[in-house]
């Protein structure tokens, strides 16, 4: 019997030794080692669809030359490979130095030392690969509960990531992350129509942790439910087109927070670094401490310390210690999502979020866990307070402009509310709005008992492009007078 997670033996390059070798050849040198062990299993209708294991190893050099900073990454870990990478980092940095945006500042590289390890209650080694496959196949079988469900897809990705960073200023810190990405999809068909339900939308079941994550999620019951719901959607009317009250479940709030709070608050976007690709931001430097981003019920935090949330860590990639910070307090914007470098460039407070996707990309400002703090209501009381409205769950579609203003999001599941009661299911629900106006329509949040955390491994930005892990925790939220629509209407 083979246990999770790895098919390959773990190895570790001695970055301290590498640093000793190169430290005297540049005014500043940092060395980062990253090793990723991945296994991914996907089943469609109980047949294998993808069965893949991967081992990715690499080193990244960070050097300061002639006052400028530069990077080189290599997967070629031979002496020659490392020499070549270091020399190329120095040569390119020397070339660009006269044209640099930012002077290297040793003060922006705290000499942090320490170790972060994902909190686990049951180590992955407690489960066999066969055991994991059995659970996934049981999930798939559970979706047979609905006859209209013709396609059942289940998948699990496990990724164990080790990293170690040292630099010539004394930093020395390690991370050991254990990531889960779980998903299940039920596709129901009737005539020309298909409807799809997933467990909380796409890859939202993204967490850090051990085997206990699977136990907590109650996957088999969840799979039965989404299969029944996919069938029910086929028999339901389209979401009406109207301006009405909207309750969003945590598995849609995740996307709402991500796109309309997380990205616009990234300081590198405000600085224009991203404007050729991911986009700029409607938020300006002078908005910090002044902009009423949302109603006074809105409290948003950056929290890379949450146990089991997908984007928790101990230090960002420049060595800044990760800690919880408030971004929006009672609706007022108070802090941005920017690293020490961006804070210096823009002159506003930020967080520990200088993060690279891996050894082959330079760190930039990223979200980590961006959470909306709970309120005091219950979902039942939010529904009871609505005379006419729609409740939506599970993200299906997302689009927002490059300044993060005008958005249109779609969900898998909708329920119509009239006179404080759910009166039926609606399919193809969408809504649209403009960020600050939308958040100022926030009129209620459920309490800590009805909060859920989700994540995604695919937050994209950067040139060259980088995808990174993010997490978002939210209560149920009520927004007043929002444009909703569904189906072929727009």
């Amino acid at each position: 019997m083979q246990t999770l997670p790895s098919h390959f033996s773990k190895s570790e390059l001695d970055v301290t030794k590498i640093l000793q070798k190169f430290a005297s050849r540049a005014p500043y040198v940092g060395v980062r080692w990253i090793e990723e062990h991945v296994q991914e299993r996907t089943f469609m209708n109980e047949k294998s669809e993808r069965l893949e294991v991967a081992l990715d190893r690499g080193v990244q050099f960070e050097v300061a030359i002639d006052g400028a900073l530069g990077y080189a990454g290599t997967s070629n870990l031979t002496d020659n490979g490392l020499n070549l990478a270091f020399d190329r980092a120095c040569a390119l940095t020397r070339t660009i130095a006269p044209h640099r945006v930012l002077d290297f500042d040793a003060g922006l590289r705290p000499a942090s030392r320490g170790e972060y390890r994902t909190t686990t209650q049951r180590e992955w080694a407690a489960m066999t690969r066969q055991g994991l496959v059995k659970i996934l196949l049981e999930c798939s079988e559970a979706m047979k509960v609905c006859p209209e469900v013709a396609t059942r897809v289940v998948s699990a990705q496990l990724k164990q990531v080790h990293s170690h960073f040292v630099n010539s200023l004394g930093a020395d810190f390690r991370h050991e992350h254990w990531f889960w990405v779980l998903s299940a999809t039920a596709i129901a068909r009737q005539g020309h129509e298909t409807q799809q339900r997933t467990l909380n939308g796409g890859l939202a079941l993204s967490y850090q942790g051990g085997i206990e994550i699977i136990d907590r999620l109650n996957l088999i019951e969840g799979c039965k439910q989404i299969a029944l719901e996919a069938g029910q959607l086929l028999r339901s009317p389209d979401c009406p087109r109207e301006n009405t009250d909207l309750i969003l479940a945590p598995d849609q709030m995740m996307l709402q927070i991500h796109e309309s709070i997380g990205h616009p608050l990234e300081l590198d976007r405000i600085l224009g670094d991203e404007r050729n690709y991911a986009g700029w931001s409607f938020v300006k430097k002078e908005d910090f401490g002044r902009l009423q981003y949302g109603s006074n019920l809105m409290n948003v935090t950056f929290d890379p310390t949450e146990e089991n949330e997908f984007a928790s860590y101990g230090f960002d990639d420049c060595g800044n210690v990760a800690k919880k910070e408030t971004l929006i307090e009672k609706g007022l914007l108070v802090r941005g999502l920017g690293s020490l470098e961006s804070q210096k460039r823009l002159g506003v407070p930020g967080v520990a979020n200088f993060r690279a996707a891996s050894w082959n990309r330079a760190p930039i400002d990223r979200m980590a866990n961006i959470n909306l703090e709970p309120g005091t209501a219950t979902l039942a009381s939010l529904i009871a307070s609505v005379e006419r409205g729609i409740l939506m769950r599970a993200n299906r579609s997302w689009s927002i402009d490059d300044y993060r203003n005008k958005f249109q999001f779609g969900c898998e599941w909708g329920e119509r509310i009239e006179n404080g009661k759910i009166i039926g299911v609606v399919k193809n629900p969408n809504y649209r709005g403009i960020t600050v106006d939308f958040w100022n329509r926030l009129a209620g949040l459920s309490g800590p008992q009805e909060v859920a955390a989700f994540g995604t491994p695919f937050c994209g930005k950067g040139e060259p492009n980088q995808v990174i892990r993010v997490g978002h925790k939210s209560p149920y939220c009520l927004f007043k007078a929002i444009d909703v629509f569904g189906g072929g209407a727009h």
Partner: protein, 453 residues
């Protein structure tokens, strides 16, 4: 042939010689390699924001025995002994996994043993000189320039124990950038551009910058507010490409169609017929990526997907073909376009403004996503150089608008014409690795393009 690609191809061949003889009865092995040696220089405000070089290589093995198949991907070193040890270990692990792994729906057998080797565009790219050129021209022309310059080698190879063997390498650059200005109301405006090729020509780049800087001046005129509603629009080639990219996302995939999650099923089934102006191909004649797919199969050089508005073929991977008893078009297992071409039409570039007469000129679209599956509706935003046109003349820039349109409408009765000229748009995708591939699209004149916000 440069030494980087030569060494890589030779190591890949050695690895095949090492691993294939180790296979046991009934086992088949597919090997692939992908590698890049790239430089990325990121610009903001005409200055360098970040600079990174990346040398990376990965080798993949897929071991197949009957209907069982498992894959492993492993980082590649220049130390061949290390590679052999690591890959031999991976092969052993895959054998263990095969003993109990669930079966696949279909196997992917390969046909005849075809081999190919291509080394394209191997001229030297002087990153140091190019960096100086970009910085100097930005300063002299007083340009607020942002973007990324990418250059270097890329390679892909695939080989199979049944005899297939392919290798492709190329060296190229792409500078993906935009120029910015602020109008009298304090609003940011920008022109999007790119310069790609094998040999940097500073004079050609200067000429482009001058044209784009003049376009930026037009964008800085007082903007016109456009209310939501239906408008006649001209979509420039890159905007057409942005919409057509959606056809690779649960679009023309045969598997997605058969399993019910394609967004284009009524079109694929023939229930919808779009404009006779519309011809769509998967065309490897664009020479933007290797013709062989990741299985080592050679798809047709040019496959017609849409002919006179009707779907003639879909993208069919061999595994899908076997699962459903149909013919493969040797698409990638993900069944997406690698080298899409939309044929040009009858509109001359010079007549576009006159034919548009009154409406919107849209240079770029942004963040397009499916909005409704049944009606093949997509939503997204206008971005960069977009203008209001009246009496066949550009009158004013506009502020960004959200659109929500159905392919069946805008490329159906709403498609008034396509330009004769097509534009080649090389991939600028750099997620994980530098992308290969391109699309060639014309501009499109469309009536009743719906804007919702």
């Amino acid at each position: 042939m440069n030494s980087w690609s030569q060494n890589l191809e030779s190591s890949f061949l050695d690895l095949q010689k090492f691993l294939f003889p180790q296979l046991l009865a009934g086992e088949e092995l597919r090997l692939w390699i992908k590698a890049e040696d790239s430089t990325f220089v990121r610009w903001n405000g005409g200055r360098v924001r970040q600079n990174t070089t990346v040398e990376q290589a990965m080798v993949g093995l897929t071991l197949q025995k009957g209907l069982q198949r498992v894959s492993a991907n492993v980082s590649w070193q220049t130390n061949q002994q290390y590679n052999q040890t690591e890959l031999q270990q991976a092969l052993q692990q895959l054998r263990e996994e095969l003993k109990w792994s669930p079966v696949f729906a279909a196997e992917s057998p390969l046909g005849n043993a075809i081999t190919s080797s291509h080394h394209l565009h191997e001229s030297v790219i002087d990153v140091e000189q190019i960096t100086q050129d970009i910085a100097t021209l930005s300063r002299e022309l007083r340009l607020d320039l942002a973007g990324v310059f990418i250059a270097g080698n890329q390679a892909k190879g695939v080989a199979h124990s049944l005899g297939q063997s392919h290798f492709h390498s190329q060296r190229s650059f792409v500078f993906d950038y935009s120029l910015y200005g602020v109008n009298k109301l304090g609003e940011n405006k920008a022109v999007k551009a790119s310069y790609a090729g094998e040999q940097w020509d500073v004079q050609a780049f200067l000429q482009k910058l001058n044209i784009e800087a003049a376009e930026l001046q037009t964008l800085l005129r007082e903007p016109k507010d456009i209310k939501p509603g239906n408008y006649r629009v001209y979509l420039a080639p890159s905007a057409v490409h942005e919409l057509a990219k959606m056809w690779s996302w649960a679009g023309f995939s045969e598997k997605a169609h058969r399993l019910g999650y394609s967004n284009l099923s009524p079109w694929i089934k023939g229930d919808k017929v779009l404009s006779p102006h519309l011809q769509v191909y998967e065309n490897f004649g664009l020479e933007a990526c290797p013709r062989f797919n990741s299985l080592g199969e050679l798809p047709p050089e040019k496959l017609t997907i849409v002919e006179n508005g009707r779907v003639k073929n879909t993208l069919v991977a061999t595994s899908t073909a076997l699962e459903f008893g149909i013919t493969s078009t040797q698409a990638e297992p993900g069944e997406y376009f690698r080298s899409m071409e939309i044929a040009g039409g009858n509109l001359s570039k010079e007549s576009v403004l006159t034919e548009l007469d009154q409406g919107l000129w849209l240079s770029e679209l942004h963040y397009v996503n499916w909005s409704d599956q049944q009606s093949a509706r997509v939503t997204g935003m206008t971005r960069f150089g977009c203008f209001w046109v009246e009496n066949g003349k550009i009158q004013a820039p506009i502020r960004d608008l959200r659109f929500d349109v159905s392919f069946y409408e805008v490329f159906g009765a709403g498609l008034l014409g396509l330009t004769q000229e097509q534009q080649l748009q090389p991939s600028t995708d750099t997620y994980f690795w530098r992308g290969l591939g391109a699309a060639k699209t014309p501009g499109a004149l469309i009536r009743d393009f719906h804007f919702s916000l």
